[in-house]
């Protein structure tokens, strides 16, 4: 499961934050399933200093709606189902087998 926040207005995010960026109401913490689908991906050839070259990034939409940018070590396709997991406190994703 992945820790995030949910608002009564329907906004969901994987960050833990006190108030909703859309409506300003208090958000409650919520655990989201760690499975989702690939919205997009890219291989960045000129990452900032201190990052792998090249750097494989993906945008994932988790099953209950929140989205996140994470790393991947896999070849991805848009729409593919993936598992999002923590590796040394950083999110990565890999295709569901």
């Amino acid at each position: 499961m992945i820790n995030g926040s949910e608002c009564r207005c329907g906004f969901r995010t994987i960050s833990i934050r006190p108030s909703c960026p859309i409506c300003g109401k208090m958000m409650v913490q919520k655990e989201f399933p760690d499975e989702g689908r690939v919205l997009s991906y890219t291989r960045l050839q000129v990452p900032p200093e201190g990052f792998n070259v090249p750097l494989d990034l993906a945008m994932i939409e988790l099953q209950e709606g929140p989205k996140l940018v994470c790393w991947t070590e896999s070849e991805l396709e848009i729409g593919q189902m993936v598992e999002v997991y923590l590796d040394q406190n950083m999110f990565k994703c890999k295709p569901l087998s």
Partner: protein, 375 residues
């Protein structure tokens, strides 16, 4: 409601310029004075995204009034990331509408090329949400995620993106202020170095130096500002409902068109924030010129070329005019001024209504400004 006018404008050539930040600003002001008689102003509205980081200089609102010999005038710094130049002209316009000032001097500038590209890229990436920046996401990386998604949803071809860059460069050839004044072909774009796939280096606006300025007046000038809109979006791209449209542009456009009392079909020429080629296409859809998913087809059929039904970025856009980040928004409005006042030389379009759209950060502080030629 009073509608402020643009009286006169000035610019430096954009590009890699071996002069200081303040000298660039002075050069743009000299250009303004050489084009028209400067009759003074009641206040200065100055914009720059990050002179503190790029140039290690602070208190620049005063440095500008001091450098231009305008000590004593109120001078204020405005900043909204890469839309700073658009914020400057909208704030200046608002000050005139309020009735407090008869005329204001708007100035926007950035000096970036003296730093190593890595350092500049790092400063530019500081506008990105920490939750995305911590993964090494840069502006081109986030733009690439958006571009690939757009291609997936709407079937856009890689060639259509290349056509945007080819068009921008062709227009830049006709603009003496442009960073790049050289034609390129599709093969050049497609074969150039990949920055973040599917985007190549020719899909990305360059790092440039440049300054520009404009005098706004309550009564004088050949162009009127008839509509202005601004809207924000979430800091993180991942927190948005869609990747293929920028809701802050849609809200800003709705406000600007409502104030102007005209519709997108009335616009004869537009300057759209093409920090990346795909952003020009998304921009033309968010502004209501084309339906979602149709912007790339409009590029393919030549509708946005100089002689098309709606010329987009006749100046060369951020891509070819160059992108001194804080200056670009004002430079866009200046291009619309030149087009509407008949001063756009070899790239002149027959136009009565023009629009400038500017994106702040990764499209989360966006401005739309609509202008009209005074009869």
């Amino acid at each position: 409601m009073a509608r402020p006018r643009i009286e006169s404008v000035g610019m430096t050539r954009f590009g890699k310029r071996d002069v200081s930040f303040l000298d660039l600003i002075a050069e743009s002001f000299e250009d303004l004075c050489s084009r028209a008689d400067f009759q003074g102003a009641d206040a200065i509205f100055f914009g720059s995204m990050n002179p503190e980081a790029f140039c290690s200089d602070g208190n620049q609102a005063v440095a500008v009034s001091d450098r231009l010999g305008l000590t004593g005038l109120p001078s204020i710094r405005v900043e909204t990331a890469s839309s700073t130049g658009a914020a400057v002209i909208q704030e200046g316009a608002r000050a005139i509408i309020s009735g407090q000032y008869e005329s204001v001097l708007c100035i926007a500038a950035e000096k970036m090329t003296h730093l190593e590209t890595r350092k500049t890229t790092k400063i530019l990436a500081e506008v990105i949400a920490p939750s995305e920046r911590m993964y090494g996401a840069t502006m081109p990386a986030l733009a690439a995620l958006i571009t690939r998604r757009y291609m997936h949803e709407y079937g856009m071809t890689r060639e259509a993106l290349a056509k945007v860059a080819v068009k921008s460069h062709a227009n830049g050839v006709l603009n003496p202020y442009a960073h790049f004044q050289k034609n390129i072909d599709e093969g050049k774009v497609l074969g150039s170095k990949v920055v973040s796939d599917p985007l190549t280096i020719y899909d990305c606006a360059p790092i440039s130096d440049g300054a520009c300025c404009a005098v706004l007046s309550s009564t004088r000038g050949p162009v009127r500002i008839i509509g202005a809109g601004q809207s924000t979006d979430t800091l993180a791209v991942a927190d948005r409902q869609t990747l293929t449209s920028f809701s802050a542009t849609r809200r800003a456009a709705a406000r600007a068109f409502d104030a102007a009392g005209i519709s997108p079909s009335d616009i004869d020429v537009a300057e759209v924030h093409d920090a990346f080629t795909s952003f020009e296409i998304i921009g033309t859809e968010d502004l209501g010129f084309f339906e979602p998913g149709q912007g790339w087809r409009a590029v393919e059929c030549g509708a946005t070329e100089l002689n098309g039904e709606l010329p987009v970025n006749p100046s060369g856009g951020l891509k070819a005019r160059g992108h001194p980040v804080g200056a670009s928004g004002l430079a866009q409005a200046i291009e619309i001024f030149l087009q509407l006042s008949g001063d756009a030389d070899g790239r002149q379009i027959d136009a009565r209504h023009g629009l400038a759209q500017s994106l702040g950060g990764l499209a989360n502080n966006n401005f739309v400004t609509i202008m009209e030629a005074v009869d």
